[in-house]
Symmetry: C2
Subunit: 195 residues, 2 copies
């Protein structure tokens, strides 16, 4: 549980929080005390399917995926988290039960970590932070709904092209296999979309 936070990272984090709530200097400093900082290596596992989930993470730098391995051993990625994204197994974290997802670093990754206890404490202590998390959760929910709608309305190729246009930089950082697991399409079919 180290405490050496780079000023640049904390500034970016502050900007992130201030998208939803405005904070004074002392308020932001107070908020930071609830977080810890970690550096992970590529392939490191943050959350393992079936085990407890004690933290929610904010990605300072790097890239993390949240995925589910089904009974046939096939992977399904339900979320990418790059710089300035939050990631955890929501259900397991909030209800304190076993993880459905594997959360794994796809690159060397730097994180701010918030434990379950600290999450409840920061929300109880700082109304503004509870407000932040409410707004953030609503926002995530809306985005998730949009993604579900994409599944209901678009075929695989359209979903791929949508991803290309929305996150062009992400495509460079991930293998096609990984993209396929996110798009819900086989590696072979994705390959045939060309480009």
């Amino acid at each position: 549980m180290r405490r050496t936070l780079k000023p640049i990272s904390t500034q970016t984090f502050r900007q992130h929080l201030e998208k939803f709530v405005s904070l004074s200097d002392p308020e932001f400093e107070q908020a930071m005390t609830y977080f810890t900082h970690r550096r992970m290596k590529k392939h490191d596992v943050l959350v393992r399917q079936g085990s407890k989930v004690n933290h929610t993470y904010w990605v300072v730098s790097g890239l993390v995926t949240s995925s589910y391995t089904d009974v046939k051993g096939k992977d399904h990625i339900i979320q990418f988290a790059t710089e300035n994204c939050w990631v955890t197994d929501q259900n397991a974290f909030y209800n304190q039960n076993e993880a459905t997802f594997n959360i794994v670093c796809m690159e060397d990754t730097e994180l701010f970590c918030l434990s379950f206890e600290n999450r409840e404490r920061i929300c109880a202590d700082m109304h503004k932070m509870e407000s932040f998390f409410r707004k953030k959760a609503n926002d995530s929910f809306a985005k998730q709904q949009k993604r579900l709608l994409t599944y209901l309305t678009s075929d695989a190729k359209m979903r791929y092209e949508l991803l290309l246009s929305e996150y062009p930089q992400l495509i460079q950082r991930l293998s096609k296999k990984t993209l396929a697991a996110y798009l819900g399409v086989s590696r072979e079919t994705l390959s045939r979309f060309g480009k």
Copy 2:
């Protein structure tokens, strides 16, 4: 904007809130002042695709669907809301932009309504209510994620059987056509799954 709330409904609503936060009698009474009450008829429209969304709704009784009509005129149902469910177009409501979804009563429906302004006010005035909405939003997000995962991992028949086992009573209240639009499967294919 009437103010005649049946005691039974308000008691159920209180129980709903108390799943996430505990409220004293005066606190609950204060909270209720931010809501209004409405009765709708079958086929009435709460939100129309393309227009502004001024309220979020809690269903006292009845049944409401949130759906999207695509360019080909095909309907996709993103959510059912029965008794004790919240429903609105999240994105349009929170970001105050145009609705993606149609929200329509499938039965005569009774609602508690919370306007955008009142939502922000109740959250600012009552920390506990902000806490409620934070927890509720996280819960909804996790449920939504689970549904997306179902799409990624299960075929149409499995999704149908899952729905049957999870919401057996819902099946009685909806036409197969409507169920098909929720499951992301054609009416004909659903029909062939048989009873």
